[in-house]
Every structure is written in C-alpha cells, then in structure tokens.
Subunit: 286 residues, 4 copies
C-alpha cells in the first residue's frame, strides 16, 4: 500500500531460489541443547520424553506442510525433505527454512508442558533451533544423506550408551570413561556393555538405535528392485501445474503421518514405499 | 564423531556468508496473521495486547543477542539490525535469520498466555514467523530502510484507523468503506476521521502511529550534527579482535533494552543516540 | 608474498563454487555481433567462414580443457559442457566461465585473418564474447538443454533462410518480408522456399540446419537402449582422486576432437557415444 | 523466437546481480603467464613492452566501457573499477566480468604483434585471462583495495629487482639468490642493490615501482581535504535515470583516458581528481 521515496531499499533484497528439480533438505538443530538438557535434567544417554517431544513437533510440521515427503530425526536435530518437484514458496531458500524452523519451535514450546509437566519452561532457558537448506541433485545422493544421518545416530548412540553405562552403572568418572573409550571400535564398545554390564546393545530401543523417520502412510507395495534407486523422475512430471499441485497436496493431507524407527539405509524401506521418492501419493490403506 | 562413506554429502552445503562491513537487517513477518488475528479476535484496527506481545518477544531477542543494536516493529513484523562490525556466527545468513526467527517464536508462544489469558492457543492456529536477511552498504541506506518501515507504519495505520472507524462506528460495510477510501490521500482520511467522527488522528497512541523502536539505553548525548549520517565507521575499527568483541558484548548486556515509540526518520533520534550507528557502547545512565 | 594492513580487503571475495555432481554448461555469446556482422559483411543468412571460425576457436577450447566432454555451437553462440564429476578449478563459477570466454576470444581473434584474409580486424570492431554458467541436475535435463539449442538453431535457420531468400532473390524489402512471415509456421516457410524459389529446405547444408557439435572421438558403440538416458552415474564414481582425474585427462587429450553436424535430440547420438554422458573415456578408434 | 518444450531449461539460470550502491572491482589475471613469459622471452624482472601491451589493452577496455572510472595494473593483472551508481548490464556479475575479460583478451591478442613484432604468437602459447568481481561497500574500503594492489606491486618489484640483479649481474644461481633473500626486509634489499650493484632503487622507473593507473582526464581540482575519503555519495544521486546515465556516459567518452604511474595510496591523488570517487564527470581540460 505504502509508496515512499524510501522504497528503493527493497532493491537490496537478493533472490535465493533453490535450483529446480533437486531434493531440498532442511535440517534444524537445537541451539545450546547441551546446557539446556542439563538445566531441565534430561536423562542420559537418551531421554525418551525429549525425543517424543521432538517427534511430536516434527509431525506437526509434516502436517502443516504437505509438500514434505519424509523427515528424519535424531537427538536434537531433524531433517525435513522436499521432493524435486516441490514449488512451495517458489523454492525460496529463506522462506522454506524459516517457516520450518518457526513452525517446529512453536509446536515444541507449545507441547513442552505435555511432555515435561513437572519441569516448566523458564527463560532464559527457552529452547530454540537454527536451520539450513541443502539441495541434492538425485535420488542416490538424497538417500546417501539420509544414510549419513542414520549412521551418525548409530555411532553416537553406541558411544553414549557405553559411556553413560560406564559412568552411571560403573561408577567411573566422565574423564576416565572418555579416556578408556578413546580409539575403540564398535566391537569394543559392544563387549564393554556385554561383559561388564550384561547389556546386549541389540536389545536397546529402536528409537535410540535407529532414530525416527516420519512419512505419510499409503498402502505398502511389493518391492520392485527393477528401478535403480538413482533413477530420476522425468522433469516433465516434475513440472506440475498449480492445480495439479493443489490436488496432490490434498491427497497428501489425507494420509496419516507415521512415526517409525527402522533402517532407511537399505533398499527395502524405499522400495516398499515408492511414493516417497516418486513424489506421487500412493493408495490410502484400507 | 561419525565417519562414514556417506559423509561426502556435506560437500553439497553451500556457504552463505554476508558481505563484510555492511548493515544486516533481519526482518521477520507473521505467517497467516490475517486469519490468525480473526481466530483469536484481535481488536481492529490495532490490538494493543498483540503489539505488546510482539514487543516483549522482540526485547527477549535483543537480550539474547547483544550484537543487535536496534530493532523496529510494526503490526506483525519486526526488523532486527546488526552493525557492520558484527561477526556473530561468522555472518552466516541462514544461521542469523533462523536463530532470530526461532528465538522470537519461542518467546511469542511462551508469553502468549500472559497477554491473552482468556484466549489460549489452539493448534492448528499456532503463530509462526518467516524471515529474511538483507544487507545495506552504509548508514544512509540503513536509515532509509528504517524510515521506509516507519512511513509504511504511518500510511497503513492512517488507512486502517479510518477504514475501521467507518465500519465500526460509521456502520458501513467493508466494501463500501474500501470503495470510498480508494484514491484518497492522507488529508482526505484525516478529514473523514475528524468531520464525521470527531477523531483527531494526531491524538491516536504513538505506538500505533510510530510503531516500536527497541535499543539499548545509554546516556543521551548532545546532538552533534557535524558528522554526516552517511559517515562510515572505518573498517579498522570494524575489525575487532575476538576479545574486543566479547568485551563489547558484555557492555551491551549491561544496558537496558528500552521500548520507544518515536520518530526515527529525522536526524535527532540518531544524533542523540550515537552508539547505535557507531556500534560502540555509550556510558550507562546514572 | 605481500603482507600489508590492506589485505583484509580479500575477505570481501565471495565463494562461487557450483553444486557438486551436476552438469555445468558454459554458454558464450558474441557481443554486438549484429553490428559486427554488418561491418565485416558476413553473408546472409549464413556465413560459412564465420561459422568455421567459431568452430575452430571452440575446438581449441576443447583441446585446452580436456575436462570438457561436449560442445554445441550455432550462430555466434557456443555451449561448453563439463561432466558432473568435473573438479576443474574446484568448480568455481567465475574461473570456469572466464577461462572459457578468454580462451575462445583469444583463438577467435588469432585465427580471424585465416578465415577472413581480405577483411582485417579493425578496432573498435573487435569481436568479443560474454558468457554464463548454468548447472543441470541430471542427464535428462542436460539433454533437454542441448535439444533446446538445436531446436532453436532449426527454427532460426528456417526463418532466416526464408527471409533472406525473399529479400535477396525475391527482391522484397526487409519490412515486407518480415510482415509476410509474421505468424507463419514451419510448413508455410518450407512452401514459400519451394514454390517461389524452387528451394528444398532439406537440401540446405547440415551445418546450417543442425548447428555444430564437438566431442572427443572414441570407437562408436552399439546402441544399448537399456539404460535410461536419465540414469545418474553414481556419485562414488564421480568422486575421483586427483591422480585418477589426471589419468582421465591424459586419455582425453589423446582423443581427436571432431566437428559434427548431426541430430543430438534423438537417443541414437548419445547411445552410440556413451562416453559423453558417462564421463569415462572410450576406446580410441583403430 | 523459438518456443519448444525444452525451454523450461532456462529456469535453471540463476540470478547474479551484485548488491546495489557498492563499488565493483573486476580483477583479471594472466593464465599461466609464468610459462608464457618464458616462452616469449619476456625480460626479467620487468618487460617494458609486455607492460605497455597490458596497459594498451586496458585503455581499450576503459574506452569501450565508459562506466569504468578507474583501473590499476601491475604485472599480468589489471583491476577495473565501476562506481556504486553503475547500472551497466543491471549489475549482473557474470556479464560484467566476462565482457571485461573478453574485451581485454581481444585487444591483447590483436595488439601483440605491435609490441612484440619479432615474436609472433604461436598456439598453444596463446595468452588468456581469468577474472572475478568483488564488491566493496564504501570509498574507504575501495581505496584500501587499490592500496593493497599498489603495496603488492612495490613489495614484489623490490624483491624481483633484487633477485634478478643478483642472478643476472651478480652471477648467482636462482636458488642461492632465493636463499639469501629469505627473511630480508625492504631495507636489506635496498642495501644489497646499492652496496653490491650501485643501484639506487628509487631511480627505477615509476611504471615498475608504482604500477599503472588509468582514469579519465578532467581539469585537476584544488585538494579539498574537508570531505572524508570515506564519505558516501548519497544513494539518491546514485539512483540516476536511464537518460541521465546515457548523458554521463557521453561526457565520459569525451574525456581522454590517461596512463599514469603515481601514488594512489595517499589522499592527494584522490582529492585532485574528485570525479573518480564521486562518479560525476569533471570539466574537460582546456
């Protein structure tokens, strides 16, 4: 509405549209969650309620933005993935990232008291998150990104589980435990857990070992390994009209967002749920 | 800690460092606040509690990030300004914007019940914000940016005040009021308010007419108009060591963040508060 | 070597690395070639020597930069293509584009007198070129880019051939010819050429109708249409070590750069020359 | 003219407009000039004809692009400077850089035989250049950039002069000379030159010691040191209409481009030629 001699300052805004036909991953991270988790006494090595709260906030983000096709969370981070055909906000980097960061934060704060009723939020210890967008040119690399995060989850969780068991059950000091774990490989940690504490790491909860994957639930399909996971959807499909996009958005809203803790590194997960990489909604389950 | 064959995906992250020695403005905007303000029954044309909540959240952002030197808010938007010498997060665009958006959102949600005790938040109507960073190469253009927002505030508020008075007090339909206001200038709207409703626009609250400016309070200085407002600080000053930056941050934390509703277009505001453009903390008031 | 208090200005240089694992196309265009072609009396609608000069300069660029895997030229423009696995100059946009523009210009000026011996260059009419880099995320889109340029070549050449035949052989004014051609489709232009001037457009030279494609010559392979043209090479292959890159560069230097005027829209061209999309040198012809 | 289903590939082109109201410096560098200068037997430490050729090509670039307000050259590099008010090519980075690189290359190749009549160019030893654009937010930093290049020129030339005198006149091996110079400061090198070879470095040619500065010649003005060198032109001046820009371009074309070898670090150079920083053409000399 306004129109003044100062409006030229708008010309300093610079475009930040992400390359078309590429996967967009928005990863958010808790700011200063180390200190925060101490303050609110999160359990070590994993606090189930804190993870459930992360997942609950992420589900709301998925519901709010039907363009999202999958998300993966571990610890205080979450990765949200838009399909190469996504046109939301004309693919503007800043708009996509800040919308996700803000929506996630809003739900996280709003739901806090539900998950931590006995530990009310108190400024200045108010949780917040930063975020970034990264684009990936094809399915293979997108899957490698997802695998990277899940491998990270595994490595960190095995370390943390061993470390905190040594400290909390073994009575070691933090320094001593850290020192002993330096240079160990997975087998060593598994052995420490089993031999000293009778813990079989395989029996730990899947949510801790695998992290959390969120996606919309359609009818599972038979694995058809014919198509290489690196296959690109054709850019023609990708160029949907606005009305097609709206239609697809509606179909996606109808699907339930599920919370899963499964392997996303192997092909099986993706082959049974072809709608994730194709970007085309599947059939709703009966 | 982790180290896997998937880590190459990190190489797809692209740098987004903002040009050194330029002003950084991060402006955030409420998402879908038109619908939201209907849902929570914000008063028209201005809801004082909603503005106070915006300002309270912005004050927390200023406290959390001492690198911020001034902020300006109107309606459901807020502009936060970093000095050209700012080195926070190595001036990474995404990090600066998402941190502000998330911190603001967290406080806004957290404080909501304090300002709207009788209207609890209820998803899916959860407030959220998007944001962007824009850089400006010198003081003159930064001030033109601030002036742009304040002129915008004035123009919009005069329109909204007239429109809603015609509707709420004058009993006109939205369409009729809109129609009559089409093509009018400020003088016309002032006259409508005064002649028909006995309202002198000048007597409206400053917070509505001028918006809100936040800054750290030091001892006011005598206006010294010798230095042109376009004067650049030398880049040598700007290149502070890390310890200098930490020292300045501490000094800034000591200053109180004040909420003001004054003209920021004319020179006076800036000449009396030279610490804002210079980036050097002033003397604390007695 | 130098080290002064002014060196901080280097910090204003901003990174411009192109996204990994994407095709890089550098397209250069003649600056003011309309005027230039008048000045040096290029023949209408096509000047064979001018095209041969463009192609000769482009061949030198291909020889100078073995990382280039294909190039396509039409009129006063040329597109040079780097494979997704290319690491030349760490994929810095500016470095890649200016190197190609400068190398091309140098050879174009140097070879001019060989192609236009009777029309020596004379400033200020010195040919120059501008350029840009664009990245494409997969094979399908890279091929669509190449098709786009070849379709453009066809459409422009049919128009120009008809227009200049009407003017030069038909004695029409430029304006009249332009007017008559407005709104015509390909069939109309073919008919004008054939009925009025006895010209069968199909008999025009391939270099005019198809433009010019440059690539390194290896032993042609049997077309194997099993692999979809959109197949991505795996990023693992793409991540070659420096010594592998050097070895591949040597192999490429050994291959002859050929000048061809063939259809690059259909699959056949690409299937017989799989080394172009794969980025792996083929077998040298016997 | 063309319009095909492939045209969507244009959407992959990304904008690269440089921030408004900032200085634009395009610096070009010779590619592989170390090897090239050996091949064409450039004289050590400085080859006057090679520098004159660089300067002659740069003058042509200045003439071709009246928007350029100053240029500085040393060795095989040249920096071309556009004023903050420059709107050429809508300030598109790629367009500005490639135009300068190509125009420079064209003139360099074209004029080569004039400066090196006895050493004709011979591929593959064809000179070429790469380039980059950097933006600077104010006058002070632009001047620091120019100072940086001139200090670099001085330091390199003193080193090279001493080194080559030790080798060519002193009969030392390259390695011995290099070894002896390691860790020396300016005074040491001056002493070596003077004591061993009777050379007073101050008497060396200005073109070697100071490099080359190019600018348009108007009537010199009395130095008025009142205005700080960091003063920003107001952005209002900067926002010229297209017709104003054309008028200024014409005035600039009328001014002669001069080749100078003077100090550009101190204020004097800039104060006497205020048109360079102001961007407003001065009065033509009588």
């Amino acid at each position: 509405m306004a129109n003044s001699r100062f409006e030229y300052v708008k010309s300093f805004e610079q475009p930040d549209v992400l390359l078309p036909n590429t996967w967009i991953v928005v990863r958010i991270d808790g700011r200063g969650f180390h200190k925060l988790s101490d303050h609110y006494a999160f359990k070590k090595p994993n606090d189930r309620r804190a993870l459930d709260l992360m997942n609950a906030a992420a589900v709301e983000v998925m519901k709010d933005l039907p363009d999202l096709c999958i998300a993966y969370g571990v610890s205080d981070e979450f990765s949200f993935v838009f399909h190469p055909s996504c046109q939301l906000f004309e693919r503007r980097n800043g708009k996509l990232v800040t919308t996700i960061v803000s929506t996630f934060t809003a739900h996280y704060i709003y739901k806090w008291s539900e998950y931590f009723p006995e530990r009310p939020l108190l400024p200045p210890y108010l949780p917040s998150f930063d975020g970034r967008a990264v684009i990936y040119p094809n399915n293979r690399i997108l899957r490698d990104y997802m695998s990277w995060r899940q491998v990270d989850c595994h490595i960190n969780n095995l370390y943390n589980t061993t470390f905190w068991t040594m400290v909390l059950q073994g009575g070691m000091s933090n320094t001593d435990a850290e020192q002993e774990l330096k240079g160990t490989v997975s087998a060593d940690k598994n052995e420490i857990l089993f031999k000293r504490f009778g813990i079989n790491y395989n029996n730990e909860l899947e949510i801790y070992k695998k992290g959390t994957v969120l996606y919309r639930q359609y009818k599972l399909e038979e694995a058809k390994p014919t198509k290489s996971p690196a296959d690109e959807e054709s850019p023609v499909e990708a160029k949907q009209s606005r009305s097609q996009q709206d239609k697809i958005r509606k179909l996606r809203r109808k699907a339930q967002v599920v919370i899963d803790h499964v392997d996303i590194i192997k092909d099986e997960f993706w082959e049974k749920r072809p709608w994730i990489l194709s970007g085309t909604p599947g059939k709703l389950p009966a």
